[in-house]
Amino acid sequence: MRNGERGRRPMHEMSVALEICRIAEAQVGHDMLAHVREVGLEVGRQSGIEPDHLVFCLEALFERAPFAGARASLELTPGEELSVIYLEVDDVGQAH
């Protein structure tokens, strides 16, 4: 079975990926020219998230602005933590 013995599908990860995008978008605000290059995440091994599935979902969502082509950087930790740690944003000189 393609999705592993527990029959997991990336649906769950897609909900999480959407929330990650919402958190990131809230950080860059309404700056239409902002471009997110990298999203740093901490993913606990007990968080119920399959890292490969999460990256797959994020890659699909990162095709649109303000992410276009952004990279997800995952730090795997023990425990249940699931957090957005940092963003790397192109500073295009729009900051006031």
């Binding site: 599908r9 999480v16 119920g48 699931l82 957090s83 940092y86």
Partner: protein, 240 residues
């Protein structure tokens, strides 16, 4: 053009958890006990709720929020058994209910007039474990037509649950299913789990389930007023 690093350090679940805390506060304020029913698809959540509303409706005031990926069939089935509100949430593909959906569903329910709220989650033993809905406790159902090792395969859900229901036990004579083994696995994962065995078809064990619900409501509400009103309504229901 330079690269700027923004420190975020925000838990992905934070917004959901904040909404869940709000829901929990609203429910507490009205003395409502909320149970989040989780299981695989087809374990018998809806039928157990139908029986519960039929048998306990004169004693406890209950409302139900049902979540389904598509259709509001479960809500329609349950609505036949109660005058109280049944709210259907169609998740449109999502694998779980979230606190926002429950919060909106509660807008249509007069919380002051109910004792017990059931949230029938989407049939799924993985995703609902990550989304707090503001419930008082999770009830995990698993049926004798599933594997005995369900608790071992989905430990997070069984760890989080306060109550478990082993359903469809009328089918045991026809199956190669070792109920003791299944219950043993559940207790191994969660020693504090309170477990009942039921058949919604022939009624076996439903009395245990109803006792569990009565205790959950009394324990949660705690208020003497509530105890009194439940007792008197129970008496009048029996007198009918």
């Amino acid at each position: 053009m330079s690269v700027r690093r923004i420190e975020v350090r925000e838990r992905v679940m934070e917004r959901n958890d904040a909404l869940a805390r709000d829901v929990r506060k609203r429910l507490d304020r009205h003395g409502v006990t909320a149970l989040n029913l989780v299981s695989s698809p087809g374990s018998g959540k809806t039928l157990l709720l139908e029986r519960t509303l039929r048998d306990l409706g004169g004693e406890l005031r209950m409302a139900v929020v049902t979540g389904d990926v598509q259709t509001q069939n479960d809500a329609d089935r349950i609505a036949r058994w109660t005058d109280d509100l049944v709210q259907a949430v169609v998740t449109g593909g999502a694998c779980h209910l979230d606190a926002r959906q429950v919060s909106s569903a509660l807008e249509a329910i007069d919380l002051h007039s109910i004792d017990l709220l059931f949230v029938e989650n989407v049939g799924n033993l993985v995703c609902p474990a990550s989304w707090d809905l503001g419930e008082d406790a999770k009830v995990v159902l698993f049926s004798v037509t599933e594997g005995e090792d369900k608790p071992l395969k989905y430990p997070k859900m069984f760890q989080q649950a306060r109550y478990a229901v082993l359903t469809k036990i009328d089918l045991l004579p026809h199956l190669v299913f070792d109920a003791e083994k299944a219950v043993g696995f559940a207790r191994e994962i969660n020693p504090r789990l309170e477990l009942v065995r039921t058949s919604s078809t022939d009624g076996t064990g439903l009395a245990d389930w109803y006792d569990l619900l009565r205790r959950a409501v009394l324990k949660h509400s705690g208020a003497g007023r509530q105890l009194e009103s439940i007792a008197s309504r129970g008496a009048s229901a029996r007198a009918r």
